[in-house]
Amino acid sequence: MTAEPKVAKSPAMIEARGVEKWYPNGFHALRGVDLTVQRGEVVVIMGPSGSGKSTFIRTFNALEEFQKGSITVDGIALNDDLRKIDAIRREVGMVFQQFNLFPHLSVLDNLTLAPVLVRKRSKGEVLNQAMALLERVGIAEQAHKFPGQLSGGQQQRVAIARSLCMEPRILLFDEPTSSLDPEMVREVLEVMQGLAADGMTMVVVTHEVGFARQVADRVVLMADGQVVEEATPERFFDHPQHERSRQFLSQIL
């Protein structure tokens, strides 16, 4: 593929500076947000509903536009250049709260669609990789079923495998366990934990405190479109610095 010039001064995977976003209806959703994510780092973003977490991480792969500030992903500046947006989307995987599997395709076809179409890889080679990934997330035996035949937890694991099949450098998770029944949350978190252990760079919006404590390198608290606090999990959960953080933690703990 296109070899990106590795001249970027910062080795950071994601570098967001002063990002501001207004929705078309005039709502000021992001008010100058800064965030740096290093390679191999796992960053958990928390915050009350409506604080702009989804909006923020969706700017990383240009699902949302922003009006001010700058975002650099793996050395590529995110601007209006459509070809750069395509290049970034190939490197950034995203896992959604609602799974968003393609219901008309089998599990295996869900995984192979993008690598074959976008990366132009041969179907046979991708099939092998897809089976290996399904093995890794523990659902190889469901490969030929359709998404509608799987439980929520299984669907979310397929969604993770689908993202991995594109061999992304970063994975974004937007509340991956929020629409799962409690008994299925763990199977998904375990897969995510395994990814982190393998050195995947991850930005995870979640309210799973246990996961954040165990896996996160840093926790970021957002409120009203701004970053309120940024700290290691121990500091954040045990000694929150800001009133807003204490208030938030008292609600979820």
Partner: protein, 406 residues
Amino acid sequence: MGPKPRLTPASLRKELFATPLDGLVTVLLVTGLAAAGSRLLHWALAQADWAVIQANSTLFAVGRYPIEQQWRLWLLVALLAAAAGLSWGVLRSRPLPDRPITALWPGNDRLATGILVLLASWAPAALGLTLSIQSRWWALTGLLVLVRWLAGRYGSRLGKTATLALPLVWPLLYLVGMVLIGGGLGLVTVGANEWGGLLLTLVEASFAILLSAPLGVLLALGRRSSLPLLRWGSIVYIEFIRGAPLITLLFLGQNILGFLLPGGMAPDRIWRAAWILTFFSAAYLAEAVRSGLAAVPRGQLEAARSLGLSLPQALAQVVLPQALRIALPATVGQFISLLQDTTLLSLIGLLDLLGTARSVMANPLFLGKSSEVYLTLAVLFWCCCAALGLGSRALERRLNPPSLGR
């Protein structure tokens, strides 16, 4: 849409005679229907004079198509029968996802085959066709049933690509059909003004169906586009067409196309009408497809785009397959009305099925035989529409992806 309960005597009693009032309504309705039905049957078998149909059967079928060239039409009908059998059989060979067949009809396609065979063995004889023509119809029916059986038997061995390519048989057959009907490529030309009857009706309807389908999809996508010019253009077009009665558009089309294009450039009256039908139908299809598009969750496009698919790729691979499946019943409904709307062509002076019928009824020889003629037309249209409806329902059920808990 839960599974329908099976019809049993007990469930029938519960459905039809739940309360005394229900029972009374049932009894009245059944007696009424039986009385009307037996009268119609009595009229059709004893009183009606079917000579008008027998004497004009060729006219109804193909209009004034030259006799010495009619073998081309027979060949086309044979190809059509083979293609229909192939599609039917392959559809049959696809597994039905989880849902059991509950409805007696039209769920059971053996019954449809039985009715077809019965009709085909009885109707040609009843119409008093010559023996050689009767036997041709029998052979054609046999061909259809044989291909259906073969395709049903071996269709599941077809690969995925072959199955996906199969629908392309129909546009291809249309092109072949147009050469066979109109001439060219070494065949003698038969001008469009010599086509008539069912032939003309089907040529017009299939032209409009095949072309309005892609046009409708493009209009629906245009209507949701973020480019203002494209969006407003689509909206204006769709709303203009849907606001005008088809008959005015047909008259307008005959005149305007004649004015706009210099002499000789304007297509023949028959093709002008076909284009108007196409443009008309496309606007309605666009609305059917739009409702399908609206039913696909936003997350589908977002997931596809976040995997790196371009917008055209995401639409073609992810959004449209789902939207079109949802829009299928409304789309086929539109095709069925389109087929029926072709009867308006008789009002602009074309000899389609209805136009031919009107010219026949104007003949003093057949005065007062309009009931026989109209009943025949109704049955012919009903057969065509029933085939479309059955096919679409069978397709729809097989396109439903399997899911939990059904």
